[in-house]
């Protein structure tokens, strides 16, 4: 039988992207298959925290050790997606002061450089923190951008001859004599199906891994746990803030770009597609936020979203926050008698590379490949070069690039500093520019429409430029605009009060009252 690839990796999140790159670096021809855009699943729906491991040190030291080791590695291999904000653990008046000693000892036992600093020093660095806090510790947390990480992984995979197939949904696995021998994928836009033949398939579908495994008849029980996050419209902290207590809801605050993100809740859900944000989750974030930063709930809330953690324990067992955050690599040949199939599940964004390494080790051994893992030292490419300065992620680079750009390069998204040339470049690189979701894909790459106006002005500009570039009809550009407006609405809707409500009504006025978008037909939200 004709072989299309050596390995198919299912799932375009950090784990799948990392696994595909790891295998490609070992000389294998890989295809990464994702049902939507890269990071559309849990990888793109987190708070942006690159863990130091401090959060897991007391109850889950294995995860904590993985986190601190991977934290150090990722800073080296993908510096352009990481901002070294550093992190604090603070004991607020609502926290048990005795916990801090237990926590500090646990951090040291796990090799995490946690260091107590005077409360006055913490307040000097982050003046909005609760002045009533009793203790403060410095940890090597960082802020990370998963969109940039996945863009880099995709670039690297392609440069090594691999393929990245987005908007291709796996609808079945090819089975030959009890072994997995490929997959049947459906193009989400055209509905066309194709068979991809490969001697090995890696299931890295995260919260959806159980569904993929079931296609091969393998029982894998993933417990989806939904976490809701809220982006507040200002970056009022520059350091990651964790509460020094037993992990709970709304106790992490992460500065990301221009905003500060608080997270999360932990809600067991039956369906991993259930990322609807409930009103009580938003209220909970505001109440908990007040404990870290007094006045928190008065800040303009910009956007809410939820991701689904893929919790997994081979024995079944614990749910929610009681579950360990380590991961598992399941060799289905041994476990279920199904050859050619490996599932990697659990874990978290910070440990994606390690998960990928372990999964790739198993696949490589099965395929008789002896080349070792190279990802620890393989520096990922920066898609933005030479547009912005290299090294580390910092919003200021974007501003510098815009300010030094030649005249005539219009700023089309003022909130996130996206210039017309950035947009045109990204649109030219897009694989399927006539798809209705093209603007949302470009948003992930450029942060278009992610600022305070949530697409009110830039949406029309983006659609107009897309049409001017050719290859896209007026109908397609308009449909892309309608899709974009609807997707932006989804994350605004749970937060419509105060200034955000006024902004949403201004956006409504622009799209309905000035442009008449509603008369040209809206597309349905794919995720509703």
């Amino acid at each position: 039988m004709k072989q299309d690839f050596d390995v198919l990796v299912i799932g375009g999140g950090a784990t799948g992207g990392g696994t595909a790159l790891d295998l490609a670096l070992r000389g294998l021809r890989v295809a990464l298959i994702e049902r939507a855009d890269l990071t559309d699943g849990t990888s793109g729906r987190y708070h942006g925290l690159l863990h130091s491991g401090g959060r897991y040190a007391v109850r889950d030291p294995e995860s904590a050790r993985e986190c601190i080791e991977e934290n150090r590695i990722l800073r080296k291999i993908v510096p352009h997606a990481i901002e070294d904000t550093g992190g604090f653990f603070v004991t607020t008046p609502d926290d048990d002061p005795a916990y801090a000693d237990t926590w500090l000892a646990a951090c040291h036992a796990c090799g995490i450089e946690a260091e107590e600093i005077p409360v006055s020093a913490a307040l000097k660095q982050e003046p909005v923190l609760n002045p009533g806090m009793s203790r403060a510790f410095r940890v090597p947390d960082a802020s990370s951008d998963s969109f940039d990480v996945l863009t880099a992984l995709g670039l690297a995979i392609r440069s090594l001859g691999g393929e990245v197939l987005t908007y291709q949904e796996v609808v079945g696995l090819e089975m030959t004599g009890g072994a997995v021998a490929g997959a049947v994928v459906r193009n989400r836009r055209t509905g066309e199906q194709q068979r991809l033949v490969a001697p090995a398939v890696v299931n890295a579908a995260g919260a959806w891994a159980g569904q993929i495994a079931a296609m091969a008849g393998c029982p894998v029980i993933v417990r989806p746990s939904k976490g809701t996050m809220v982006a507040m419209a200002y970056r009022f902290v520059n350091t990651i803030i964790n509460r020094c207590h037993k992990p709970g809801d709304g106790d992490i605050l992460v500065p990301v770009g221009t905003v500060a993100v608080i997270g999360t809740t932990s809600v067991d859900v039956a369906d991993p597609n259930d990322t609807a944000v409930q009103g009580w989750e938003v209220q909970k974030m505001l109440v908990e936020g007040e404990k870290m930063v007094p006045g928190f709930s008065q800040v303009r809330a910009l956007r809410a979203w939820a991701g689904v953690r893929p919790l997994y324990e081979e024995s079944g067992g614990a749910q929610g926050r009681e579950a360990k955050r380590t991961f598992a690599v399941l060799e289905h040949a041994q476990r279920d008698g199904v050859e050619g199939f490996v599932t990697v599940v659990g874990g978290k964004f910070t440990t994606y590379r390690l998960m990928a390494e372990r999964a790739a080790d198993v696949v490589a051994a099965r395929l008789g490949v002896t080349k070792p893992c190279l990802t620890k030292d393989f520096v990922l490419p920066d898609a933005r070069l030479p547009l912005v300065s290299p090294k580390t992620h910092w919003l200021g680079y974007r501003l510098e690039a815009v300010e030094s750009a030649k005249d005539g390069d219009a700023l089309i998204c003022e909130c996130e500093l996206v210039a017309r040339s950035d947009f045109e470049h990204a649109a030219r690189e897009h694989a399927d520019v006539i798809a209705p979701w093209v603007l949302d894909d470009l948003r992930r790459e450029l942060r278009l429409g992610m600022g305070p106006c949530q697409g009110g002005f830039c949406g029309y500009r983006a659609a107009g430029i897309l049409h001017e570039m050719g290859n896209v009809t007026a109908a397609q550009a308009t449909s892309a605009l309608a899709d974009f407006v609807q997707r932006r609405w989804r994350g605004q809707r749970p937060l419509l009060w105060g200034h955000s409500l006024r902004q949403a009504l201004l956006d409504e006025h622009i799209y309905r009252g000035v442009l008449g978008l509603h008369r040209l037909g809206m597309t349905k939200d794919e995720h509703e």
């Binding site: 009103g279 938003v282 209220q283 505001l286 709930s297 809330a301 005249d407 005539g408 219009a410 700023l411 089309i412 017309r420 002005f457 029309y460 500009r461 659609a463 107009g464 430029i465 049409h467 001017e468 009809t473 007026a474 109908a475 550009a477 308009t478 605009l481 407006v485 609807q486 932006r488 609405w489 989804r490 809707r493 749970p494 419509l496 009060w497 105060g498 409500l501 006024r502 949403a504 009504l505 201004l506 409504e508 006025h509 622009i510 799209y511 309905r512 009252g513 000035v514 442009l515 008449g516 978008l517 509603h518 008369r519 040209l520 809206m522 939200d525 509703e528």
Partner: protein, 406 residues
């Protein structure tokens, strides 16, 4: 003499001040700042309806007895439109059309929009007229896309093609050109000459030319007529992203007329709270650096806007409050019921506002007048979904005028 205090400088407040002054009142207008004129396309939509507009309006108030039109009366709408024509004509800004039928106008996206009364510079864009169109705009400008506009018009069966023209001035500075930058350029004869020279070869038989609504700000010069003469076919404006040049022209016309008529206009003055004695409002309190000042009046017109304008404030607990007098509000239930899943759908929050009687006096839940000498105008009124109904400007004007004249 009747002292009238108007709070709010949007279209409703401007009309109220004009109406009150015409009636001989001593009028003062205070507002936080400029109102919604500056984001408004400039056309006057009264109801999204094709066919006979008068009977559509009659039918509408019959089926919507609590709608602002039903309360203020359609007579107020007609009188308001007359006042609008009068004030704008004085500024050399002609508004055309009436309540018999709607214009069908192209938007910057190439969709269609209905409006009863429009600036004369919009009129040649009427899509009920089959004449083919050239849609044109400055090349590389971020706020108007002639190709997308024409493309969408064509797929709806209208005859249109597109072209761009070069305006080197747009790219000369470090800052992006706003509609205002362009309007100031079009005030210049040499710019108009250059644009016309570039567009003439692109006409290809077009019976008219549509351009973004940036054709000048200077009073007294009708740039669209000048361009029409240069091109030999009518030129019309198409509203685009805010700030709105036609809206600014409208504001300027009213400001000039009001000041000339002796109305005192105070911007940058936020009415923070009202002073009430029994069932009368004595005045509004405006905080200042040294002390708070109370502005009193016999009659107070509240035209502070709705949820967008700031006349109604909200917070994360789901509280919804009228900003000045804390008047009772018709409001939807909890926060989660305010908006539905469809972005451009009709939402419960749209209908929030102050309930009033036919004199536009605020009412409580039982239908009793709360403050006898307060009138409510514009988007602050309950019971209408302005954007969805296509009644935004009509409600502003009708209730503003009515509030000023009661």
């Amino acid at each position: 003499m009747n002292d009238v205090l108007v709070v709010g400088a949007g279209p409703a407040g401007l009309l109220a001040a004009w109406g009150a002054r015409q009636r001989g009142g001593r009028v003062r207008l205070v507002a936080s700042g400029i109102g919604t004129t500056h984001i408004s396309p400039g056309w006057i939509g009264v109801l999204d309806s094709d066919g006979d507009l008068s009977s559509a309006l009659q039918g509408w108030i019959g089926t919507h007895p609590r709608h602002p039109y039903a309360l203020a009366g359609l007579g107020a709408l007609s009188s308001a439109l007359s006042a609008l024509r009068e004030v704008t004509a004085e500024a050399g800004l002609e508004y055309v059309g009436d309540l018999r039928s709607n214009y069908l106008l192209p938007t910057a996206l190439g969709a269609t929009m209905r409006a009863a009364v429009v600036p004369r510079s919009f009129a040649a864009g009427d899509l009920r007229d089959p004449g083919s169109m050239l849609i044109a705009g400055p090349a590389g400008w971020r706020d108007f896309y002639p190709g997308l506009c024409a493309g969408n018009l064509v797929r709806q069966g209208f005859s249109a093609h597109s072209a761009t023209f070069d305006l080197p001035e747009l790219h000369a500075g470090k800052f992006d050109a706003t509609p205002l930058t362009l309007a100031r350029l079009f005030d210049r004869t040499d710019v108009r000459e250059r644009v016309a020279a570039q567009l003439k070869p692109c006409l290809e038989g077009a019976a008219r030319v549509g351009v973004p609504a940036v054709l000048g700000l200077a009073p007294g010069v009708d740039v669209s007529i000048d361009l029409s003469e240069r091109l030999g076919v009518p030129v019309f404006e198409i509203p685009t992203l805010p700030p709105s040049v036609p809206g600014i022209r409208l504001f300027t016309a009213f400001k000039t007329a009001l000041m000339k008529a002796g109305v005192q206009i105070l911007l940058g003055m936020t009415a923070e709270r009202g002073v009430i004695e029994g069932r009368r409002a004595v005045g509004v309190v405006i905080p200042g650096a040294v002390r708070d000042t109370t502005y009193g009046a016999d009659t107070i017109v509240l035209a502070t806007g709705g949820l967008y304008g700031g006349g109604i404030t909200t917070d994360h607990t789901g509280a919804m409050r009228e900003a000045v007098f804390d008047l009772p509000l018709d409001r939807p239930g909890g926060l989660e019921s305010w908006f539905g899943p469809e972005s451009l759908g009709v939402h419960a929050a749209h209908f929030a506002g102050v309930r009033v009687n036919r004199d536009l006096q605020p009412l409580d839940e039982t239908g009793r007048t709360v403050l006898e000498n307060v009138r409510i105008a514009g988007r602050l009124l309950a019971g209408h979904a302005a954007e969805a109904e296509g009644s935004t400007e009509g409600v502003w004007l009708a209730t503003g005028y009515r509030a000023g004249c009661v």
